[in-house]
């Protein structure tokens, strides 16, 4: 097929290409370095645009400044953490604004951009879902396999969470290089490339200090969106503002592995799973139990928690996950 135009690239990034239409696009991306590069560029543009808009928050109500912490809509819920003041991510990467980037001020790398997924989980943000639920998944799984050694770096975008840990990113890059040299252009390869391509930039930005020690921060807390630009020096955690809130934040920020029986107990007797998919792992975060599945686009999480005696659940999908596939998966959620 011919080169991808901007509209198609953005539709792809937004998960709006029906899954049935993905294979030729992914094949093209596998074979075309130019389009891969454009995809990466457009993803950065998209993320910058998102961050800029997110700067505009509705001023808190004058009465009682406590954050509402209500259900998330789209990517909105970090909004109410106005009290979080200044929390600068410390991931020990020694990452600082890169002079080589044009207008580097706004290139906040999306990897360290974390958002708390505490009690309020995104309300059914049907973003995207992996198209490939069959054999090629194995290749994708390989790509994503190694669980993060330290705290994973998480990105929340529009209610979609992409878990990217340094190990995972590095693995992605290596595999991509390997695939390139092998000339693999099959659907699986293409899928990985499609998933890898948008991450390519991220890997570049993170990989440079990759020699540095792995993230030192046990808990990645607070939405860096609040901080605006990347004059961030990700060397230290600076916590100002309300200390107790910060402590509370950090206590729910890190997912902790949980056993199946404990998960069932935590949810009052039943655990929902997606029929036909094999979970990668179970973890708990705050009140929520997270069933994590691996897909060609990243991790898909079925998050559930007990709320007023009822179990609420949400599917959190990575960027680029086709929304039609997500709907199909949603229909397969069973107890």
């Amino acid at each position: 097929m011919s080169h991808l135009d901007d509209g198609m690239i953005h539709a792809l990034l937004d998960g709006e290409i029906p899954s049935a239409e993905l294979p030729p696009i992914q094949a093209h991306l596998g074979a075309c370095a130019e389009c891969r590069a454009r995809l990466a560029e457009e993803q950065e543009l998209l993320e910058t645009s998102d961050r800029l808009i997110d700067l505009i928050e509705v001023p808190a109500a004058s009465s009682g400044g406590a954050p509402k912490g209500t259900a998330m809509v789209g990517r909105t819920w970090p909004r109410n953490l106005a009290w979080a003041a200044t929390l600068v991510l410390a991931v020990g990467l020694g990452y600082s604004a890169r002079g080589s980037m044009p207008a580097g001020q706004f290139r906040v790398p999306s990897a360290p951009e974390t958002v708390l997924a505490g009690a309020p989980e995104p309300a059914a943000s049907a973003e995207t879902a992996p198209a490939l639920l069959d054999a090629p998944q194995d290749a994708a799984k390989m790509q994503q396999s190694s669980p993060p050694p330290a705290a994973p770096l998480r990105t929340e975008r529009r209610g979609a969470v992409v878990l990217r840990d340094k190990a995972g990113q590095t693995a992605t890059r290596e595999r991509r290089v390997a695939k390139d040299s092998a000339g693999a252009a099959g659907a699986a390869g293409a899928a990985n490339l499609a998933a890898a391509a948008p991450q390519a930039r991220k890997v570049d930005s993170i990989a440079r200090p990759a020699a540095a020690p792995s993230p030192t921060v046990g808990q990645l807390t607070a939405p860096p969106r609040r901080l605006g630009d990347t004059q961030l020096r990700l060397d230290e955690v600076v916590v100002s503002g309300v200390a107790e809130r910060a402590a509370k934040l950090s206590s729910v920020a890190t997912p902790v592995p949980i056993t199946f029986p404990d998960a069932v107990r935590k949810l009052g007797g039943s655990l929902r799973l997606i029929e036909g998919l094999l979970p990668e792992r179970l973890e708990t975060m705050g009140n929520a139990v997270r069933v994590v599945y691996l897909t060609g686009f990243g991790e898909l999480v079925l998050s559930q928690q007990l709320d007023d005696g009822k179990v609420r659940y949400t599917l959190i999908a990575p960027r680029g996950f086709p929304s039609d596939s997500l709907e199909k998966l949603r229909a397969r959620v069973r107890e």
Binding site: R75, A82, G228
Partner: protein, 166 residues
């Protein structure tokens, strides 16, 4: 409020106010328009609520926007918009500046591009954006790509020329 309306309200009110706030820069106005929008929904409950609510709200903005007095209010709001966090004075000023610049950049977009972008920021799918704005679904990707590019470009261009309001 009936049960259905209460649910609609609970589900969409916050998102609607936020979109309106970003669209207008005026919190009070955003709240008023949101209330007016829900009031209209009570009269004629929509079948496809989200696009309907947001479309009505955006129409209300456009209608009101023709009044010149809005211009003045906006000027003041650029300055007043300060984050309430315990940041240093520098950070607060920087942040206020950045927000003002984003607003400025948003204003430089065409109305349609701006609205598409703000709806996307509220988690709308392409279908929903198309339904809300009366556009062809096939045009949404291009619209968003253009809007995003122009927003970022306008923002960066505003870096050197630091005037608060136009």
């Amino acid at each position: 409020m009936t049960g259905v309306m209460a649910e609609l309200f609970a589900e969409y009110h916050e998102s609607l106010v936020r979109m309106l706030y970003r669209r207008t820069g005026d919190r009070d106005r955003a709240e008023e328009i949101a209330q007016e929008t829900f009031a209209r929904a009570v009269v004629a409950p929509p079948r496809n609520p989200r696009p309907w609510l947001f479309a009505v709200a955006l129409n209300l903005v456009r209608e009101e926007g023709r009044k010149a007095v809005r211009q003045d209010r906006r000027l003041i709001l650029y300055r007043a918009e300060q984050p309430e966090a315990a940041e240093s004075a520098d950070e607060t000023m920087d942040r206020g500046d950045r927000i003002a610049r984003v607003r400025s950049a948003l204003d430089s977009l065409t109305e349609r591009d701006r609205e598409a972008l703000l709806l996307k920021a509220e988690g709308f799918s392409y279908d929903e954006i198309a339904a809300t704005l009366g556009l062809a679904r096939g045009a949404i990707g291009t619209t968003l790509s253009r809007a995003r590019r122009r927003l970022v470009e306008a923002y960066r261009a505003g870096e050197d020329t630091q005037h608060v309001a136009s």
